[in-house]
Symmetry: D3
Subunit: 246 residues, 6 copies
Amino acid sequence: MRICVINPNTTVSMTDQIAKAAHSVAGPDTEIVAITPTMGPASIESHYDEALAVPGVLEAILASERSDRPADAYLLACFGDPGLDAAREIASGPVIGIAEAAMHAASMLGRGFSVVTTLSRTIGRAEELAERYGMAKNCRGYHACEIPVLELESNPRTAAILVDACRVAADHDRSDAIVLGCAGMADLARTISTDIGLPVIDGVAAGTLLLQSLITLGAQPGRRGELARPLPKIYTGILSEFGHHH
Amino acid sequence: MRICVINPNTTVSMTDQIAKAAHSVAGPDTEIVAITPTMGPASIESHYDEALAVPGVLEAILASERSDRPADAYLLACFGDPGLDAAREIASGPVIGIAEAAMHAASMLGRGFSVVTTLSRTIGRAEELAERYGMAKNCRGYHACEIPVLELESNPRTAAILVDACRVAADHDRSDAIVLGCAGMADLARTISTDIGLPVIDGVAAGTLLLQSLITLGAQPGRRGELARPLPKIYTGILSEFGHHH
Amino acid sequence: MRICVINPNTTVSMTDQIAKAAHSVAGPDTEIVAITPTMGPASIESHYDEALAVPGVLEAILASERSDRPADAYLLACFGDPGLDAAREIASGPVIGIAEAAMHAASMLGRGFSVVTTLSRTIGRAEELAERYGMAKNCRGYHACEIPVLELESNPRTAAILVDACRVAADHDRSDAIVLGCAGMADLARTISTDIGLPVIDGVAAGTLLLQSLITLGAQPGRRGELARPLPKIYTGILSEFGHHH
Amino acid sequence: MRICVINPNTTVSMTDQIAKAAHSVAGPDTEIVAITPTMGPASIESHYDEALAVPGVLEAILASERSDRPADAYLLACFGDPGLDAAREIASGPVIGIAEAAMHAASMLGRGFSVVTTLSRTIGRAEELAERYGMAKNCRGYHACEIPVLELESNPRTAAILVDACRVAADHDRSDAIVLGCAGMADLARTISTDIGLPVIDGVAAGTLLLQSLITLGAQPGRRGELARPLPKIYTGILSEFGHHH
Amino acid sequence: MRICVINPNTTVSMTDQIAKAAHSVAGPDTEIVAITPTMGPASIESHYDEALAVPGVLEAILASERSDRPADAYLLACFGDPGLDAAREIASGPVIGIAEAAMHAASMLGRGFSVVTTLSRTIGRAEELAERYGMAKNCRGYHACEIPVLELESNPRTAAILVDACRVAADHDRSDAIVLGCAGMADLARTISTDIGLPVIDGVAAGTLLLQSLITLGAQPGRRGELARPLPKIYTGILSEFGHHH
Amino acid sequence: MRICVINPNTTVSMTDQIAKAAHSVAGPDTEIVAITPTMGPASIESHYDEALAVPGVLEAILASERSDRPADAYLLACFGDPGLDAAREIASGPVIGIAEAAMHAASMLGRGFSVVTTLSRTIGRAEELAERYGMAKNCRGYHACEIPVLELESNPRTAAILVDACRVAADHDRSDAIVLGCAGMADLARTISTDIGLPVIDGVAAGTLLLQSLITLGAQPGRRGELARPLPKIYTGILSEFGHHH
């Protein structure tokens, strides 16, 4: 099976890191195709960035669907799950976001989890997604480490700061698990887990595995209602190519 | 004061109709600037269309903000409220969507309202917005008339079908008001209201008036948290202009 | 248009202040009629006070409705929104309360707001109203300044105490806006907003503007269900006049 | 112990019926004092009626409290639970409403119950109370028999209509119990229960027993927060006597 | 009437204490039958203990039902309410749990209460029950005193520690009442209440009284839906006797 | 890796069917160990059956944990997820139930799903679990086919009845997916899905795959709070062996 992991931002080194996280858990028969979009922001740290990451995400899915070997499923590897509903309309297989994947996985490990994210300004979106996924009751707290996305990799103190933030979050929230709030933290999940003695869920790994599961279940999206294919129509201006999705 | 009413789709005749609805309620000192975006779909009838309407909406706001006379507030005139959070980060004044405006207004007229919309596939988004705005309890039912957006104007039976749909909805849901689920229904609100004897809320008119109210209150968005200005960063590809928002 | 702003308590100086707040935002064609009831408590600081303010509120609406020039809409200018549902049954136009108005307005300015009120004993009622209006998720905290209603005007430290309370509330709750929890704080909204850099919503101003909006929308309450006119019947004792409402 | 059962309307025959329902379940050591207020509406079928029933309810409690032998607890015998919070501030013992009592009791007999009430216009209030008491999830449906309150006693078909309405409600809602939505239905609870084979809860009986329970528990209301005694203050006009509650 | 109070653990001295608490509030015509199960854990401090207490609870109910004089109602005297739904299927009269009883009773005394329990690891179960009973909004905090169940009686500092924990809980949560989170605290309710000036609810006493109330109401469980008698079937192994419940 | 799939009832043919469903999706490196408990009911169709299935489930987990090769994870293959919290305390790896697995999986395929189950009396438990897992909003309807569990296999009309029930459910609820409400329906998921054109989720397959995912993630349950190992203590009677879990 082939899973397309889309990094919604345009930073290639982050795509590489995401690909590594996906590979590290994928099954022997699973091919991971990691994509950097051709358009959009270098990182996603605001609603504005996220909204403008969506066209690149959708273009990547359309390209895959039109190719000789469409992916069997798609993972949106940014914790805002940008473009999730739209992606589900155009992909022939399942699509999930890493916030969705991580929250669901964490909820199966105990009653409550904490989200530890990058900048506090992104907490609103995390709250909104928790609400949407039915996880508002399970998510007992949102905590920011205040490291910008692209600094996660370069900052020598990232691991130490995150371990601290996760420990404080778990104690404060009486949590049974931690959810990491950024794809850029994927490589630290096991380290933090060992340090604090709680499961720490990275959405890239969780999402890859959940998609593998949905593919194995043969779960093709239904097309009778909300997720029917978009009606073909004229698109204008620099987005005109998006009208040719059918 | 100047209110910028953005039609998130690219159909000019629909922008004209939206402008008319806004003008019909605006105060004498309020200038309505109706905008058709330079990019995006001809109509919005799916999550895909909605997601791809957002760049055009944001571009229109950026253009206004960079102009000599920025608007004092912005109305997103599509019932999916596309790009609302992103718009709030870049606009210097208040931004609301017409679903938001209509639902809040309807909730002040009684305990329950019904939403009557175009295609049933859009109901999921309406439910999500009702949940987000705290209106899930107030919104007692979602009903589709199954007329596509761009046919609303041309179909000679639109008014009759909508009156019927609204009456059935109100009776079934024991509703105190009707919310119209598409900007393209704006001109029919008063007719339907007279026919069925209940308030019928069009979000374009409601949104224009609520923005006038927020401007008069002097309510400038706070910039301390979630709605701080997006950090400037590199944007790639056909969206590269969006990196220069500051 | 004519908006009747009812001060549910019997303190005339407070009615004057409320009238001033309403006037300061009303449109050029809007007449504000501020009413002090003929019966009821000097201030409202308990459920008992609030319950007993209701007959005076309803009497004022009945008097307006029976007059030559009934008001087009009514504002209940106490943060407990006393008698709201009853008022909606007897008024021919829209009726809203200032808690309702302020919470809805604040919710359109960001994801979360804080309520800053007078005595902490009134917080229970504010919570109940937030729940009713669908704002429980948006209202992130309730904070009391512990100044009694009638002391707000006379206490020289009111402004300073409120600025402090609002700043602490906003920081603690990560709020995007403040809602003032008493009509007697109306004159301080702009000062506090300037000081703390966040929108501060006074319900008297917000309510006046929202009623203007609802009147302009032509939104007459429906009479088919819950808000049908009360059935005429015999009222006994000192309330016997209330039986003649038809 | 002495329980004061207050009929919030002024119809003496209904007070008699309520007293009978309370007596039929009260313990041997419980004295039931049934009160008809000196002021207010002959029946309660609207928010207006309910709001204006409150002063009479509060006056009755004040009179009891000032008497030689204050009641140990108070039951508000109208399904809108009028004045509940205010009553709790001035009563020295527990106060509950019959909607509160019936809903709580029904919820202990299974997962879901249906409310069967008089006029459909009162359903909104029942929904609001279910929400307040945490019973929204348990209350699976609201059903009206469309018999006005004062006709319940005189209409020869009342029992037959109610049996039918309760059976239909139970089947439709898959309910484990029925809650009767009016004090005037108290005498029919056992008949209906026998007929439909489900527990049928009348709030007057349930409330009398729950108050007996709370008195036996020694549960005196706390006075530290929301339920502290109202501050004494000047009351104006025909309500001036209410200022002397201390 | 006869109420069977089942101590779900097998510690006889705790059954004695529970019996005393039930007796202290039961009416003159109420016979309390306190039962220690023949199987199960010595105390309940985990989900594991609770799950394995259930067979003993159900066996006790079956024994009562098969006896010459079945109890009229059953109280499950452990704060996890173990086996509640199953018990309701096999008992011919009402069954309630002490968490259920205490939470409902506390909710009738004001808007919010705090739960004070033994070990913090039991808080998750208390949260789940509050959610189930509709009390999540009313229960403002969960607090552990970290005294194991069987040490409550022997530890000389139990009373002092609990008074402190209850006072801190009430202040922190702005609560109107305290709910004690363990049957082993029953004897301390009045002392704590006197000390902190708030009602303190012990579920054993509350449950005894609520069952008395439900019996007096004649509330027999309905058998049409979820609570129909279990279908007879083969049970295997050491539990084979449980197949003979019919 | 080794996944222990526990059939909570004692019917061996059903264990075989469950094992088949698990095998059909398990990875090449996954060993499925299917267990029939030594004690408990032949099928689970009531709360009583479910409660009494729990000791057998826990015994099976204890046996595995004490063995030379403990399982890496456990699946509870009954739609009531019996003993889930208790199992999590004693298992060294993740434990999930099939209702949990199916509901989470279905929620990732669209906004709403329907549950189609065996007897309508089990719907209450399904509702409770949906609430617990945060899926109440996603689960749009519960539908019973009224075929008893052990008849699913023998009834020649099972497939036809289920296809019909699923189609009706999907249309009525506007659902994007179906969740099968019994492990005994596992073999029919693909047939139904093909027939109705929507994903149909069987919890045995979904749960096997989710556990594989959690094991691959290295997600060991945290032991700091609610899921700490049960304290060792004396167990009495036929359950005395359960005291030796440490």
